[in-house]
């Protein structure tokens, strides 16, 4: 069954995540990214950032803690085609982020194996005051199953 346009706007439950220094360090280490802005308090404090920040792709590790959408998706048909991060300000250790996933868009395009659907899932991350910090946008190709 193909997805229906009516799912656009569907939202998951809000979940709260704490950005922890140790987790950020482990994430940077796994990538092999030794940028001192993520781990060196003195260096980052004296930079224009005024304190520690996190690697650009770090929000993906927060989004993975999220609740799923009230939506039946067939994982076998899903392919993570594109990823985007839209930053309003850097994510910092010590941040407490209020996250919510929502279906931002659904569109169709003719592909090699017939009509393919593209699903855009946004995880919005806001601070305690409700100010947007970052949006993690996932573009998913929803493929027809091979017969």
């Amino acid at each position: 069954m193909d997805l229906d346009k009516s799912i656009v706007g569907l939202k998951g439950e809000v979940f709260v995540v704490d950005v922890e220094k140790r987790h950020v360090r482990q994430f940077a280490e796994a990538i092999g990214d030794s940028n001192p802005l993520y781990v060196d308090e003195d260096y980052s404090a004296s930079s224009p950032y005024g304190g520690l920040i996190t690697p650009l792709t770090y929000p993906i590790a927060l989004a993975s803690e999220g609740k799923s959408l009230p939506l039946q998706l067939d994982e076998r048909r899903m392919l993570h085609g594109e990823q985007e991060f839209i930053y309003h300000r850097p994510v910092r250790p010590g941040d407490q982020l209020y996250c919510q996933m929502k279906v931002a868009d659904l569109y169709e395009r003719e592909g090699r194996s017939g009509m393919m659907q593209f699903l855009v899932l946004d995880t919005e991350m806001k601070d305690k005051e409700g100010e947007m910090v970052v949006i993690s946008r996932m573009n998913i190709v929803y493929r027809p199953l091979a017969k």
Partner: protein, 138 residues
């Protein structure tokens, strides 16, 4: 590190070549990112679904590009947008080279921006991902 003065469309930067991807790295990335899909850590599982063995998380490769973008940005610019389209697969042993070229330079509301076109390629020049970053100068 980038400087706003003198940036020209088409300008290229020194590439970043990462050490070869290792299986241990994939396990570490799985743990740190929370992506436990066994396709990235379990050879037996990967073979069962028709692969030669495990492949890297696409997001790890995006992490390499993110490292590169932050190296270029240094402390002179902040990243406003960063995206990547996933292409070919990366396997343990593959060496990923990140490169960038200036796509656009512009000013908006008194602030200077640069748009970088990004590429992650394997040693054989095969593209595993392409992307874009928008940087705002401090």
């Amino acid at each position: 590190m980038l400087a706003v003065a003198g940036l020209k469309v088409g300008q290229e930067f020194e590439a970043l070549t990462k050490p070869p991807v290792t299986k241990v790295q994939l396990v570490k990335y799985a743990g740190a990112s929370g992506d436990y899909n066994p396709l990235h850590t379990d050879d037996e599982f990967a073979r069962k679904i028709g692969m030669d063995g495990v492949i890297a998380h696409g997001m790890l490769i995006m992490g390499f590009l993110g490292e590169y973008v932050m190296q270029l940005a240094g402390t002179t610019a902040e990243v406003a947008q960063f995206r990547m389209r996933f292409g070919g697969m990366t396997k343990p042993g593959d060496e990923i080279k990140c490169s960038a070229v200036v796509e656009d330079v512009y000013e908006e509301k008194g602030q200077s921006f640069v748009v970088l076109a990004l590429k992650a390629a394997k040693s054989g020049e095969e593209i595993v991902g392409s992307g874009q970053a928008v940087l705002r100068f401090h």
